[in-house]
């Protein structure tokens, strides 16, 4: 599967802590993005989960590669792109902090907040984005365990290949598990969001081309055994797929001409590989 990237943007507590270590030591709470582009009355309903997702989506759509060089057109192009682009949203757990709270209230026989309820569905984040941006295009929302991020890429590829769209915005987001579920953690816990714009063909804005493939995991029992061992020692747990992807992509981009190894990520079900394709500069 060949995907062409026009832009990519990520936010994670790993990066946020690096950028602002003292702040983190004091409060242990990341400073969530401000989201100036969202009107205040809509912004007040955005959870941290929604905020980091929309932050990366907005950055991906306003990346320099996405815009013409002329300053005059820049302002009008962002809303246009954001209103017309198809969206694939993916998250392994969704806004679990919100749903866990709602479920706790329900189990205690309390009335739940209409606001929280109305934004608790899996596709709430791209839905909010579509309202803010007046986007009436098709949106898919995906959840597929540890493979959620890569399945978003597969879904994007399928939609591009079908010819129904030639450009897509992919948004992936996950947060650390709420306290209530922390004992079930089977990955390193990182708040993170990744957004990227992908196309079916190379365009003048293409910044990278990625060849992605996956196989069924043939040795599931071995994988599970490794995981059980890892659970006892938290440091051995793997990073979430989207974070692995970003680390690989950043390293590959930094290395410029040096050929870096392909990314390999294995979940319980699949082994995914991504390879950066270079030398495709012809438009």
């Amino acid at each position: 599967m060949l995907l062409h990237l026009e832009s990519i943007n990520a936010w994670s507590t790993l990066d946020a802590n690096k950028a602002n270590p003292t702040d983190d030591n004091k409060t242990n709470t990341p400073a969530w993005p401000k989201l100036e582009f969202v009107p205040a009355m809509q912004r007040r309903r955005l959870s941290p989960f929604a905020k980091i997702a929309l932050y990366t989506a907005e950055n991906a759509l306003s990346a320099p590669s996405m815009l013409s060089t002329s300053i005059e057109t820049v302002k009008s192009e962002i809303p246009e792109q954001a209103a017309q682009i198809d969206i694939v949203f993916s998250s392994r757990h969704g806004d679990l902090h919100k749903t866990a709270e709602l479920l706790t209230e329900l189990s205690a026989d309390q009335d739940i907040s209409p606001t929280a309820f109305s934004t608790s569905v899996h596709n709430a984040v791209p839905g909010l984005y579509s309202i803010i941006k007046q986007n009436k295009q098709a949106i898919n929302a995906i959840s597929a365990g540890k493979d959620s991020f890569f399945y978003a890429l597969v879904d994007a590829y399928a939609r591009l290949k079908s010819g129904r769209s030639n450009k897509l915005l992919i948004i992936h987001v996950d947060r650390v598990l709420p306290e209530l579920y922390s004992q079930f953690a089977d990955e390193q816990q990182v708040d993170h969001a990744v957004a990227m714009v992908v196309t079916s063909a190379i365009t003048s804005a293409t910044i990278a081309s990625i060849e992605m493939n996956f196989n069924a995991c043939t040795d599931i029992e071995k994988g599970n055994a490794e995981e059980d061992n890892a659970k006892e020692d938290n440091t051995e747990l793997k990073l979430p797929a989207a974070v692995c992807f970003m680390h690989w992509f950043d390293a590959t981009a930094d290395a410029a001409d040096v050929a870096l190894p392909a990314l390999q990520y294995s979940s319980d079900r699949h082994v995914w590989t991504c390879e950066l394709i270079t030398g495709m500069t012809d438009v």
Partner: protein, 87 residues
């Protein structure tokens, strides 16, 4: 009465996540919905929940009068006071 109004404003700000608004920003006679404070239909549901949780007042969603009771802080506090005395 003034105490109740201040309390209502504090509750509205806290429960509806009005980040940039303070008690002093809300005038007693100003519209709460659409104009004035600019609240919407989800806020109306949330406000109904506030009344139930904090004042034990159950709202009849089909009542025509509810619109009037929710129109301003003045109307809301009058409604709460009235319901309390008749209950």
């Amino acid at each position: 009465m003034t105490e109740l109004k201040t309390e209502l404003k504090q509750l509205i700000i806290a429960e509806l996540d009005l980040e940039d608004i303070t008690v002093a920003d809300i005038n007693d006679a100003d519209a709460l919905f659409v104009e004035g404070l600019g609240l919407d239909s989800i806020d109306a549901l949330e406000l109904g929940l506030i009344l139930k949780k904090h004042y034990n007042i159950k709202i009849d969603a089909n009542s025509e009068e509810i619109k009037q009771h929710f129109s301003s802080i003045n109307a809301l506090s009058a409604f709460i006071t009235q319901t309390r005395t008749t209950a």
